[in-house]
């Protein structure tokens, strides 16, 4: 054994010469042996002041077990401490004299306090950002959605959709598999926080692997990384809830299964407690596979737009929802998913509205309406999809069907009572096929085809007969039936070739789009069940056929920190319109060119700037072409003059994105300018209370300026995520009001601060606020309404005094400057108590403690100003028990 001598002497006696009393040097030495008498080497012999750990001098015992320490300081009582990895620790108090002390040590391996490397709350590897769930979750968080909204850079909007740094996510995965096909609310609202290890964000995520190099995206995807304990085992949760008053219930049954080759989530949720459980069945992907239920709906029962508050406050429901989602991994990297979702709901709504329409050179028209609506909703979605997503091959075929059966019974009181019964059906069947294959290394071939059929029949009955002067030449009658049936067949097919060389990619596509639409409508006044009069001006039977042949060239070039993409679509459009009332046919041909360009510049790893410009020129739509009157609701007629009105729009954005994971700082800003020009203008005309809207041949321009930005930061020291977002919109537009052209400008700005804080192990805090101000200004008018300012504040505290108990207090306050009296300020308070008893979580929630009965808001839209009052759910108490079945 090599011997070495290294000792370190403490330099301490600066004062000694002045004291004239130089310290005498002492020598302490000895031998260390084990119980069998063998010398021990490698033992640290540390000399310290008595009962202190401060090192004065030390020696590492040599191969003969020998040590020697010199000391010349002025500490009188010293201690020798012997430590080593394999022998017991020994301590000996000694006086300050030279001496020999031998030790005999018992063998006893040391056990160190292990320190597990703490993973960073957020970490980054290339384009993947990983949020450690344990760093953000607290006792109050039950499902992963509760944690998602606290992560810096991630925002969960009120409809449940998720944004990353200001942009909607394009995929939501669980263990890298897309089980839910966009209905990711099912995952965020049902997967337990305890089962998720990390939330991962894949930045610039191209879901189609073949296209990773050629077609970059700036969208991000989210992946939930589950804990091992959550994989491969079937879990089921149940919830039972009852309360009052009136009698309310809220039940759930959910099963989850995540294995390597199979995933499954089944849910049943039902309640009449105002809990909007159907929201989680919304599909959020915007890849064109999800058609909108509103397509082809021309008729409605007039009711105010939904209030911008937590929907649980105003939803009078009786809902049952169920969903079943399966994913199987098949041999050869194929994947099969099936998704079914069903909703059955009865809802009632009561509201009051005061609508003020500004009319040029006249007193504004004021309409007051009290509306009560009862709705029955039946909705079914089903889809089956087979896909394969490999580096050199992509295939997907998905079959989707959606159906809706709704009835709305409305009663509006305007002085007279007007009953409105609306029946709406909606059917959609579509198939999407997409195939991409790599050949000859860098070349790719793509074929895609979408075929879909939609049918929407609607019937609106209105009692009693109204607008006799317009409808029946002043003859009284009983009821009015408006019938519409819209159907649409769409087929899009294309073939593309991709070429990639170094940093230059090209794509050329050739395709055909077919769009066939039919609108059938009639408005019939009835008296004693006989039709009185149906002029052709109250009917539509319009066939719209559009064929588009297009050739698109797409180029991407990467040069240094620049990434430039341009798309040049050239299309030949053939349109045939057959309007049977009046007998009128027309054919149009048009060549359209709608170029797109985007330039991305990455300044560094944190900051990027992107400019994009998209030009759009279209030849019009069926909605702007039908000529017969349609009574959209009991006081609104709509028609067009039969002209084909195309539009041109140019949309430019400048966005910048910043994210620094080490500092947990995320920010984005966007400037948008849009100019929309058209040969038509919207006209609004009032005959008494009846509003007639139509399109008139006159060029018009709408300009939109907007700026928005957001910053979010995690402050580790305060265990908080703080974010601030702001937006400003300015719209310049015009419409014809009572025969006169009115230019108007609508401006709104909003600032939204938010804090989510896990203050301590015993409590957390959440604060959100929205300050906004909006204004409508009509040019050449002396009369201006003052701007509406509104402030919303929400403050929630959660306290966990002991492990089994949680207390949540929630306070919300709304302020609206346009209202007066008590309505100007409104507040809601809620209280939650959580108690864990064995394996059951009890939750007692008392909502709307102050028993606020109504919610009032005011808003501007176009050239009107509206005040709405909504009925609010009364104070209610709900007790739920939630437990794991297995």
């Amino acid at each position: 054994m090599y011997l070495y001598y290294k000792y370190i002497v403490m330099i301490f006696v600066f004062l000694a010469p002045f004291l004239g009393n130089a310290q005498e040097q002492i020598l302490i030495q000895g031998t260390i042996i084990d119980k069998s008498g063998k010398p021990i080497d490698g033992v640290f012999v540390v000399l310290s002041p008595q009962n202190k750990t401060t090192v004065l001098s030390y020696y590492l015992s040599d191969a003969k077990g020998h040590y020697q320490l010199k000391y010349s300081g002025n500490v009188d009582t010293l201690q020798l401490v012997l430590t080593s990895f394999d022998y017991e620790k020994a301590i000996r108090i000694i006086s300050k004299t030279s001496q020999t002390i031998d030790f005999s040590l018992e063998s006893q391996p040391i056990s160190l306090k292990e320190v597990v490397i703490k993973a960073d709350p957020i970490s980054q590897k290339g384009d993947t950002i990983k949020y450690l769930v344990s760093s953000y979750a607290n006792e109050n968080d039950r499902v992963i959605g509760d944690v998602l909204k606290k992560l810096p850079g991630i925002e969960v909007l009120s409809d449940g959709s998720i944004q990353y740094n200001g942009k909607d996510i394009n995929k939501f995965y669980v263990e890298n598999l897309d089980l839910l096909q966009g209905r990711y609310g099912i995952a965020t609202n049902n997967i337990s926080v305890k089962d998720v290890a990390a939330v991962e964000v894949y930045e610039n995520h191209q879901p189609v692997k073949v296209l990773t190099e050629t077609n970059p995206t700036d969208k991000a995807a989210i992946n939930l990384k589950l804990k091992d304990s959550a994989k491969g085992a079937l879990g089921a949760m149940a919830q039972l809830g009852i309360g009052g008053k009136p009698f309310i219930w809220d039940n759930e049954l959910v099963s989850l299964y995540f294995a390597k080759k199979k995933q499954n989530i089944n849910t049943y949720k039902g309640n009449n407690s105002g809990n909007n459980v159907e929201k989680e069945l919304t599909a959020f992907y915007s890849d064109g596979t999800n058609s909108s239920y509103n397509t082809g709906q021309f008729l409605s029962v007039l009711s105010p737009t939904l209030p911008p508050i937590n929907d649980q406050r105003y939803l009078f429901n009786d809902v049952h929802t169920a969903s079943s989602n399966f994913l199987f991994l098949l041999p050869d990297d194929y994947e099969l998913t099936t998704n079914i979702a069903y909703q059955n709901d009865r809802r009632t709504k009561n509201s009051y509205s005061n609508s003020t329409y500004f009319l040029p050179d006249k007193e504004p028209l004021v309409l007051e309406e009290i509306t009560g609506i009862s709705q029955r909703i039946n909705k079914l979605d089903a889809a089956i999809k087979a896909s394969s997503n490999k580096e050199d091959f992509y295939f997907v075929n998905s079959l989707n069907t959606n159906a809706l059966w709704n009835t709305n019974k409305g009663n509006t009181f305007t002085g007279d009572s007007i009953a409105q019964n609306l029946k709406t059906d909606y059917y959609n069947l579509s198939n999407t096929f997409n195939l991409i294959k790599t050949f000859m290394d860098e070349k790719k071939f793509q074929m895609r085809s979408y075929n879909g059929y939609i049918q929407t029949p609607q019937e609106l009955n209105i009692f009693p007969g109204m607008y006799e002067e317009v409808m029946t030449n002043n003859k009284p009658y009983d009821k009015l039936i408006q019938y519409t049936k819209y159907s649409n067949f769409t087929s899009n097919s294309s073939a593309s070739l991709y070429f990639t060389k170094n940093r230059f990619s090209q794509r050329y596509s050739l395709g055909l789009d077919v769009d066939i639409q039919n609108l059938n409508s009639s408005l019939k006044p009835f008296s004693d069940n006989t039709i009185i009069n149906t002029p052709d001006s109250l009917k539509n039977d319009l066939f719209w056929q559009k064929y588009k042949i297009f050739f698109t060239a797409y180029y991407r070039y990467q040069w240094h920190a620049f990434d430039i993409i341009t798309e040049l679509p050239l299309s030949y459009n053939f349109l045939h319109i057959d309007d049977r009332f009046p007998q009128k046919k027309r054919t149009d041909n048009e060549i359209l060119f709608n170029p797109f360009i985007s330039v991305l510049y990455k300044l560094n790893g944190y900051l990027s700037i992107k400019f994009s410009n998209i030009f759009n020129h279209d030849i019009g739509s069926l909605q702007n072409t039908y000529t017969g009157y349609i009574l959209n609701n009991y006081r609104n007629f709509n028609r067009n003059d039969g002209q084909l009105y195309g539009y041109k729009s140019n949309y430019s954005t400048l966005t910048s994105n910043y994210r620094n994971v080490r500092k947990a700082l995320f920010a984005q800003m966007a400037l948008v300018y849009e100019i929309f020009t058209s040969d038509m203008i919207r006209e609004q005309y009032f005959i008494g209370d009846l509003q007639i809207q139509s399109l008139i041949n006159k060029p018009s321009i709408t300009k939109t300026y907007s700026i928005n930005g957001s910053v979010s930061k995690n402050i580790y020291a305060l265990r908080s995520t703080v974010s601030l977002s702001a937006n400003y919109n300015d719209i310049f537009s015009s419409q014809i009001n009572q025969g006169e052209l009115v230019d108007y400008r609508y401006s709104i700005y909003a600032i939204k601060p938010k804090i989510e804080s896990n203050l301590a192990s015993w409590g957390s805090l959440s604060y959100a606020s929205v300050w906004s101000k909006s204004k409508t200004r009509m040019e050449n008018q002396d009369f201006h309404y003052p701007a509406i300012s509104s402030i919303y504040n929400r403050l929630s505290f959660y306290l966990f005094p002991i492990k089994k108990v949680g207390i949540g207090i929630n306070y919300e306050h709304y302020y609206d400057s346009a209202l007066s009296g008590e309505e100007k300020n409104m507040s809601f308070t809620d209280l939650n108590l959580k108690y864990k008893f064995k394996r059951i979580d009890f939750l007692l929630s008392w909502t709307n403690i102050l028993n606020t009965k109504q919610y009032t808001r005011s808003s501007f839209a176009d050239t009107g100003r509206f005040v709405y009052i909504y009925e609010i759910r009364p104070s209610q108490i709900l007790l739920t028990a939630r437990f794991k079945l297995f």
């Binding site: 090599y2 330099i11 540390v46 401060t54 090192v55 990895f85 056990s111 306090k113 590897k125």
Partner: protein, 320 residues
């Protein structure tokens, strides 16, 4: 036959340089770039086995003039029965990923990390080959590796009375001037080991935190793990033509590289192409060293014209 040799040499070269992650125009000196190597059985030698693993985080400034650009590394200190091995955990992770992929027959994409994470390539073996000695493997570029041996020379520590607690271990302060920097360290006698990060050591306990007076280098202990399964202490043997030298020679070579890296690349046997912003070659510099050309491998480095006569700033941990 000739073709076969060429092919073989190409393969060998590819194996050596899997990733030339940092191009010459980048602001980081290339000694910090990833040196991802295959570390399969035949490509390493096991020197010892470790029973204790200490992990440090390191924040450092690659360029002392640019104080905003703080780079992070994570270091592992393996304590073997006799040898202590200090190296970058990030570099090791990249090597392991590459090795696993390679063994599965997959092509391995380099691990992309945050822009402020960059592992340093060096390996320090303390008490190797003998107790009291230290063996250091250093890299200047991926193809120029150096190996030197020195005495395990510990700093002359001055103990101070200040104490603090790091990761629940109570620590005492000590300071010393060592290799051109004034170091302050915090050590804990509860871990009876006279070791620490980098070449720091010689205290009656593990160094838990260490930084120089200008805070250009900051090591902090973030993990202590007693290994249930012993971990081998390895060194790579197959890839680098390690030039044996002394510490002083290595430091001189390093300085030469940063002062005139184009000539350095030429001397290593690389052709250098000076290119403009569009990637067009404006000047071609032929290497006088034909060692790669002799085996029919053309290995070139592209340098932006703006960097033609630029010195690369550097800030080595050892200043003297």
């Amino acid at each position: 036959m000739g073709r076969n040799i060429l092919f073989f040499m190409l393969l060998l070269l590819m194996e050596i340089v899997y990733i030339r992650a940092v191009e010459a125009q980048s602001s980081y000196p290339s000694q910090y770039s990833y040196l991802s190597n295959y570390i399969g059985k035949d490509h390493i030698r096991t020197l010892d086995s470790a029973r204790l693993k200490i992990t440090y985080s390191l924040n450092y400034l690659p360029d002392s003039m640019n104080t905003q650009n703080i780079i992070k590394d994570r270091k592992t200190l393996l304590i073997g029965d006799s040898i202590k091995h200090f190296f970058s955990a990030y570099v090791r992770q990249a090597d392991s990923v590459l090795t696993k992929d390679h063994d599965k027959g997959k092509s391995s994409a380099p691990i992309k990390r945050a822009p402020d994470i960059l592992g340093e390539g060096y390996n320090i073996y303390t008490d190797y080959p003998n107790v009291g000695k230290r063996r250091v493997l250093e890299y200047i570029t991926e193809l120029s590796a150096y190996e030197y041996e020195e005495d395990r020379e510990f700093p002359e520590w001055i103990f101070e009375d200040e104490t603090c607690t790091i990761l629940e271990y109570s620590c005492q302060k000590a300071s010393a001037h060592y290799r051109g920097r004034d170091w302050t360290v915090w050590f804990s006698t509860s871990v009876p080991l006279n070791v620490g990060p980098w070449k720091l050591g010689g205290l009656p306990g593990l160094i838990m935190k260490a930084y120089d007076s200008r805070k250009h280098y900051l090591f902090e202990c973030i993990g202590i793990e007693q290994l249930k399964k012993k971990e081998p202490i390895i060194r790579k043997i197959r890839f680098h033509d390690y030039s044996k030298c002394t510490r002083e020679e290595y430091r001189k070579t390093q300085a030469q590289y940063y002062n005139d890296f184009i000539n350095f690349e030429l001397s290593l046997g690389f052709n250098v192409n000076i290119v403009d912003d569009n990637g067009n070659v404006v000047e071609h510099l032929e290497t006088p060293n034909k060692r790669y050309e002799e085996i029919h491998v053309m290995w070139g480095t592209k340098v932006n014209i703006a960097d033609r006569y630029r010195k690369i700033p550097y800030n080595p941990i050892e200043l003297e």
